[in-house]
């Protein structure tokens, strides 16, 4: 056994902490600005800073810049301590840090410019997606090489959560970002319609799970015991917590698509697994909170523990609310409303924000060999932050429930009590102002943190941790292969496989197999129980062996995570080809596709859904229920997740071209009280029809059945269609607008929504009432 001194690389932790605080302020400030825009439309200043473009910037900045940098800081600091090893490569650490910051800057530039894939939390265009994959690979390499060089055989529970984060985010990002480039900053998702919806929310939900939750749970398992100066409440519970959480989480994505055109089986799976998630989530929450047993008095004095205790409590609240919102009936009320906004901010501000603050207040004094500059300022941050979250969440709860109830309210004759969408928006306007105040208070608290930690760093000097370690070879309990093929794994796979096989059998066959499985499980359990009695007390248990084997642990984690994703996504992808062959829908024309790209660029999907759910109040307001067929050629899908404005799935033909033109120029002229920004700039922005054929060709590559002759004449056809709409606008209202303007293309797209060309009016600009009558719809008057 040799002794050697190891110096940790704490410089990289300092860098990530600084970046997280900086981007945290930026991301939250953008959040305050878009909250203001919703309450006060005049705050939409110019096309680059309008709500539709800034909202993705806010979500990306908070998730990937603020929490991302915080996560890297926590992982790098704790991994070195838990493995008793310096990070594998200083170079990889630096490439990781600067590469990630470059990606954030690229996002901050391209999103306001309108370069977006139009998928929530995955808006960044393909070159940036490639950069993310490369930098994530650098991070993974650095992490796993450090594990390989570790001087502590056992992998502590925090490391398991980091492993799950790294492997799962890789899979999610790669699959959901698969797209066909059609320009330097433009691409189309290879998935379309319902498939894209399923893949996107498998990604979107698990971005919450494996980017915002599992790494922070790992951080909780390391930093909370450190701050409380006592071990985690139950290490055994953490084993159950880990495996059940990573296995169940991946199935829950479809709860974002309840009551939509997603097949029922997928909706039900998503709902059931979301409900089951409450068990591991609360197991983890209680494990965190009970770590403070016997140390509750410290909460009075120590701001670090205050933030951790409140953060874990908010995690508990959010993970109770999440499963409740995943019940189809509750989702029917809450989906598309501000209730969901309340839910995510309880998680983001309460869980992520407060865990970050607790970690920073604990870390920075240690990284600079000094004491926290002002404990009272940290306490002030805690109280103003908590008050801010409560104001935010409560106002959005009230807004969400109010609007959800107004949408479904019926009058005595069974019609809509509030047929005008604007009426339901005006009813919650006061809540939008209250949310703005809550968010601003939270931001002020975070700025106080930045100031406090800046003064703390200035009062000390950078220090690196050193430790003396024994570099003896690990006790060789077992090989990786013997652990990987251990009895628990084999038994689980055999029993799971047998249960799955019943899907292919008839009722009698399935019953026989299930009874056999049950008997085998009971017999094996009884035998194991008997055998365990004779086992030597010192014999290491299987899980203990796994904890010492990095490759086996990672492999089992990948299997646990992939099962849910494969089970949900593969059937949908396999069935996709048949659906494409049997559809009665027709692809968008060149001009409509260009208009759709304008719709994406302006971020219209942030406020408008395209999914009419099977409720009477939805069909009365918006028309016939949406089907899978309606969006089969949509790459990406545009079902949306929030209605700040009305649904657009069947808006085509409801209003005249002139109505749309005027509405885009000044929404309030048409809909008094609307908070929609003006899109007058689209009248002056021109579409490049030279690129239209390439776009059709790319769509054809991903399965949209454009004919070669359609592609060959795409440019001419698009120009002619644009000229027809421009001419109709001139006749209807004496409007002069360029035939190749983005506004004309957008009108063409909106007029197409909910209709296939055979239904479309022969002449663009057919009066709305005629077309509405063909759908037998009552105009809602929005």
């Amino acid at each position: 056994m040799n002794l050697k001194t190891i110096t940790y690389d704490d410089d990289i932790t300092r860098k990530f902490v600084g970046a997280s605080i900086l981007w945290g302020i930026v991301g939250m400030l953008v959040g305050v600005i878009i909250a203001l825009q919703l309450a006060f439309w005049q705050a939409n200043v110019g096309p680059y800073l309008s709500f539709g473009r800034l909202r993705p910037l806010h979500t990306n900045a908070v998730i990937f810049a603020f929490v991302g940098n915080m996560m890297f800081a926590g992982i790098y600091y704790s991994t070195q301590r838990l493995t008793k090893a310096r990070l594998a490569s200083d170079w990889l650490s630096r490439i990781h840090f600067w590469g990630w910051q470059a990606i954030i800057v690229a996002a901050a530039v391209t999103l306001p410019l309108g370069a977006t894939q139009g998928k929530e939390y995955a808006e960044l265009e393909w070159p940036i997606d490639l950069a993310i994959a490369a930098i994530w690979l650098v991070f993974a390499t650095n992490f796993f090489l450090t594990l390989k060089r570790r001087n502590e055989q056992h992998l502590y529970v925090a490391l398991w959560f980091y492993i799950a984060t790294i492997v799962t985010v890789t899979v999610l990002h790669v699959v959901n970002s698969l797209s066909i480039p059609v320009g330097p900053l433009k691409s189309y998702s290879v998935f379309g319609g319902v498939q894209d919806a399923l893949v996107q929310w498998w990604y979107g939900h698990n971005a919450v799970a494996f980017f915002l939750t599992t790494p922070i749970l790992g951080i909780m398992y390391y930093f909370l015991p450190k701050a409380a100066e006592r071990p985690v409440f139950s290490y055994r519970l953490s084993i159950i917590h880990f495996w059940s959480l990573v296995f169940l989480y991946i199935w829950a994505g479809p709860h974002h698509l309840l009551n939509t055109a997603l097949p029922d089986w997928a909706q039900t799976l998503g709902m059931v697994f979301s409900l089951m998630l409450i068990a591991p989530s609360w197991g983890g929450m209680l494990n965190g909170l009970l770590t403070l047993r016997g140390a509750w008095d410290k909460l009075r004095e120590d701001p670090v523990l205050k933030f951790f205790a409140a953060g874990v409590t908010f995690y508990g609240m959010a993970t109770f609310e999440g499963p409740m919102l995943s019940i189809k009936g509750v989702s029917g009320l809450a989906h598309y409303t501000d209730w969901i906004v309340a839910h995510v901010h309880a998680g983001a501000l309460g869980w992520n924000g407060f865990m970050a603050a607790g970690m920073f207040y604990w870390l920075v004094p240690r990284l600079y060999g000094t004491k926290l500059f002002s404990r009272s300022a940290a306490n002030f941050h805690f109280y103003i932050g908590t008050f801010g979250i409560l104001l935010y969440v409560i106002s959005m709860w009230v807004a969400g429930v109010t609007q959800g109830l107004m949408w479904r309210a019926e009058n005595e004759t069974g019609g809509l009590l509030y047929p005008s969408f604007i009426e339901t928006l005006l009813a919650i306007k006061a809540m939008y102002w209250m949310r703005l105040i809550g968010g601003t208070l939270y931001l002020v608290g975070f700025i106080v943190l930045a100031w406090n930690l800046w003064r703390t760093a200035r009062s000390g000097q950078p220090v690196d941790g050193t430790v003396e370690v024994a570099t003896a070879a690990f006790e060789d309990d077992a090989t990786e292969v013997s652990v990987l093929l251990g009895r628990p794994v084999i038994v689980t796979l055999l029993l799971g496989g047998a249960v799955l096989a019943t899907a292919a059998l008839d009722r009698v066959g399935a019953t026989v197999v299930l009874v056999a499985v049950a008997l085998i499980a009971i017999i094996m359990g009884a035998l194991s129980y008997e055998r365990a009695n004779d086992a030597a007390p010192s014999a290491p248990a299987w899980h203990r062996l796994v904890e010492g084997k990095g490759i086996s642990f990672t492999t089992l984690t990948i299997i646990a995570v992939l099962i849910g994703g494969v089970a949900e996504i593969v059937p949908s992808v396999v069935a996709g080809g048949d659906k494409l062959r049997s559809t009665s829908n027709k692809p968008y024309s060149g001009l409509e596709l260009e208009g759709r790209d304008v719709f994406l660029k302006e971020g219209c999907y942030n406020c408008h859904s395209q999914m009419i759910r099977p409720f009477t109040w939805e069909t009365a307001r918006y028309g016939e229920v949406s089907s899978e067929d309606d969006s089969i050629f949509d790459h990406p899908f545009q079902w949306g997740s929030k209605r700040t404005g009305p649904d657009l799935a069947r808006v085509g033909g409801r209003y005249s071209n002139l109505w749309h033109y005027k509405h885009m120029l000044d929404p309030r002229e048409i809909s008094p009280g609307s908070n929609m920004p003006s899109y007058a700039h689209l009248a002056g922005a021109l579409v490049d029809f030279d690129a239209t054929a390439d776009k059709l060709r790319a769509m054809r590559t991903v399965g949209v059945p454009y004919k070669p002759e359609q592609i060959a004449t795409a440019k001419r056809d698009a120009r002619q269609a644009g000229a027809a709409i421009a001419a109709a606008l001139k006749v209807e209202g004496g409007v002069e607008v360029a035939a190749d303007s983005e506004l004309v293309a957008l009108v063409a797209y909106l007029q197409r929504l909910g209709r296939v060309p055979a239904d479309a009016p022969a002449q663009p600009g057919t009066p709305a009432i005629e077309v509405a009558a063909t759908h037998g719809q009552e105009r809602s008057g929005e």
Partner: protein
């Protein structure tokens, strides 16, 4: 009805398996290693070293 029967059956099997698994776990003392592993992050063997001028560059 088929689904109900299947669900009840699956629940009973899962419940029974969980009880057996728990009993096996307790009997095989597989949990005992956890006592000292929970202490891993609390090791207090670290010292701080200011960065040298060379490193600070």
């Amino acid at each position: 009805m088929e689904v109900l029967e299947l669900t009840v059956f699956a629940s009973v099997v899962l419940g029974l398996a969980a009880v057996l698994f728990f009993a096996w776990n307790v009997r095989s003392r597989s949990h005992e290693h956890t006592e000292h592993l929970a202490l891993l992050p609390l090791a207090n063997d670290e010292r701080s070293r200011p960065k040298t001028e060379e490193e600070a560059l």
